[in-house]
């Protein structure tokens, strides 16, 4: 834009000295914005201006929380933990697997399929392992090497992520349980084996890569179920004595994990 009028030397000097009144200074500002000739007569430090804009830009740029991060914060999760959990694609995958599996069971259970109960009880403890295996490790996380050298990497990060997966998967599976064609006690018999498998996997992951630990624990669980079927029927691994054993595994693994996480 060009105009016929240009700021006088007095006006310019007053503007540069900062002695003009607000209204007049803003008018000069507005004119400078549209008049290249007057703008050229006002000296400025280009480097300083660029650096200042850069600083201002960075001040204005703050991470925009995703819906999942906002949801976690609303649920009382500390801001940095919410960000840690919601930011990475690996967590989204793990959550998706957990949710899809739990919902699939709910749908199948609602259809009252006759053979569903054994399948549900046997597979429910294995599913969280899949989520955990997807939550941490070089094969599932593109930035794993970058993150692995940080103090939070290892048991603490894995535990945080696994807890998040379990916090979603377990309540959903609990909701699906009453839909099963079985007495309430039996339809929830998967819970302790599931927690034992998950905590056992996490405890083992201090010694083994997470997917290997998940495979080992999953394989062990299927071996237990297979042995039960051969010896005393498929319900044997869900009877009270076995449940006590799972409870003890949960307690000892949790204690081990607690010790690891506070180190």
């Amino acid at each position: 834009m060009t105009t016929g009028w240009h700021i006088s030397d007095d006006l310019r000097d007053g503007y540069l000295a900062g002695t003009l009144g607000t209204a007049l200074a803003l008018s000069v500002d507005a004119h400078l914005g549209g008049c290249a000739r007057c703008r050229a007569s006002v000296p400025y430090d280009g480097d300083w201006l660029e650096a200042s804009w850069g600083r201002l830009e960075t001040e204005l740029i703050r991470p925009r929380p995703s819906w999942s991060e906002r949801l976690l914060r609303l649920g009382g999760v500390p801001g940095h933990v919410a960000r840690l959990l919601s930011a990475t694609p690996t967590m989204s995958r793990a959550w998706t697997v957990a949710v899809v599996a739990a919902l699939a069971f709910a749908v199948l259970a609602a259809r009252q399929q006759a053979d569903l109960l054994p399948a549900f009880l046997i597979l429910a403890p294995v599913l969280p392992l899949t989520g955990i295996a997807l939550a941490y490790g070089p094969r599932v996380d593109p930035a794993h090497e970058l993150m692995a050298a940080t103090p939070l990497a290892g048991p603490r990060l894995l535990l945080t992520r696994a807890t998040a997966v379990l916090a979603v998967a377990t309540p959903l599976a609990l909701i699906a349980s009453p839909l099963l064609p079985a007495p309430p006690g039996l339809s929830a018999a998967w819970l302790l084996p599931s927690l034992a498998a998950a905590s056992g996997c996490l405890a083992l992951s201090n010694r083994l890569p997470v997917p290997i630990a998940a495979l080992a624990v999953g394989g062990l669980w299927l071996a237990v179920v297979g042995t039960g079927r051969l010896t005393g029927g498929w319900l044997a691994p869900f009877e009270p004595a076995a449940q006590v054993a799972y409870g003890l595994i949960v307690l000892s693994s949790s204690f081990h994990l607690y010790r690891l996480s506070i180190k």
């Binding site: 960075t58 940095h80 930011a87 930035a143 970058l146 048991p155």
Partner: protein
């Protein structure tokens, strides 16, 4: 400050580290060596992302083989891996902020201030809000360097940090790293001998998992003393040579016909030391 003793690491039947002994102190140490010499394996062991099969590491009195001391060591190091890997949907700010959380900077305001500081250090302030997938290779490399600088670590481990940087960015990198090396231990691996010559007060040349040279860049250059020549006529085709800007031929090894001796550089020393393995 940092001492590695009899370090071994084996992949299949091949030793990536074969009884390496190395001590690092304050200053910039450059690791040179051909592909497969063990540089990255060494840096990964030092960064605690890979456990050696044998030997020991003592860094600031901490033993990374012990889980508790490993975490304590991680609080004191910054690491730029060879292949950092990024979440492409993150902005530059998001990525560094995420690593800052993993480095236990939990207070939001303090963390954001630190993120801004390291982005400014690598001249990425203007790209803070840009998605990682839209950054150029050089910008991503600077972003990877930025996250390594979080928390002003005592030990900075940089695996091929100048890959993808243009000349101006390399100058910026050299300025930054040489300043950091004044007060902390910086170890970097590179194929760029000119970076070593410009930056490092010490250079270690590795081959087959061992350190075959440990000295100053000047001492490495001296390995080729009396073996670098400039001649007007092209040396025999069997020799490695190239034509310089002034039209003469530069060659390494025995004196070519009418060859004039010239001062060796770090690259000459490196090539002489490793021979065909280079």
């Amino acid at each position: 400050m940092i001492k590695m003793s009899d370090l071994t690491k084996k992949y299949g039947g091949r030793f990536a580290l074969a009884g390496l002994d190395l001590a690092l102190g304050t200053g910039v140490t450059g690791l040179l060596g051909p592909n497969g010499a063990g540089k990255t394996t060494l840096l990964r062991c030092l960064a605690t992302t890979l456990a050696p099969d044998g030997g020991s590491i003592d860094a600031f009195g901490l033993d990374p083989a012990d889980p508790v001391q490993r975490t304590a060591l991680r609080r004191r190091l910054g690491y730029l891996p060879q292949d950092p890997g990024f979440y492409p949907h993150f902005t530059a700010f998001d990525l560094v902020d995420y690593v800052a959380i993993l480095k236990e900077l939990t207070d939001r305001e303090r963390r954001h201030a630190e993120v801004r500081r390291v982005l400014a250090e690598v001249d990425l302030t203007g790209q803070a809000g840009t998605k990682v997938r839209k950054l150029s290779g050089g910008m991503r490399q600077r972003l990877a360097l930025a996250q390594a600088l979080l928390g002003e670590p005592d030990l900075l481990i940089l695996d091929e940090p100048t890959v993808g940087l243009d000349p101006a960015q390399r100058m910026l990198f050299r300025t930054l790293v040489s300043r950091l090396g004044e007060s902390r231990a910086v170890v970097l691996s590179t194929h760029q001998t000119e970076d070593v010559a410009a930056l490092c007060e010490r250079v270690v040349v590795m081959r087959d998992g061992r350190a075959v040279f440990d000295g100053t860049p000047g001492e490495l250059a001296e390995v080729a003393a009396g073996q670098v020549w400039l001649s007007d006529a092209a040396p025999p085709a069997s020799r490695v040579f190239w034509r310089t800007a002034d039209g003469r031929y530069r060659t390494l090894g025995d004196r070519p016909p009418s060859g004039d001796a010239t001062a060796p550089g770090v690259e000459d020393g490196y090539l002489t030391l490793l021979g065909e393995a280079a």
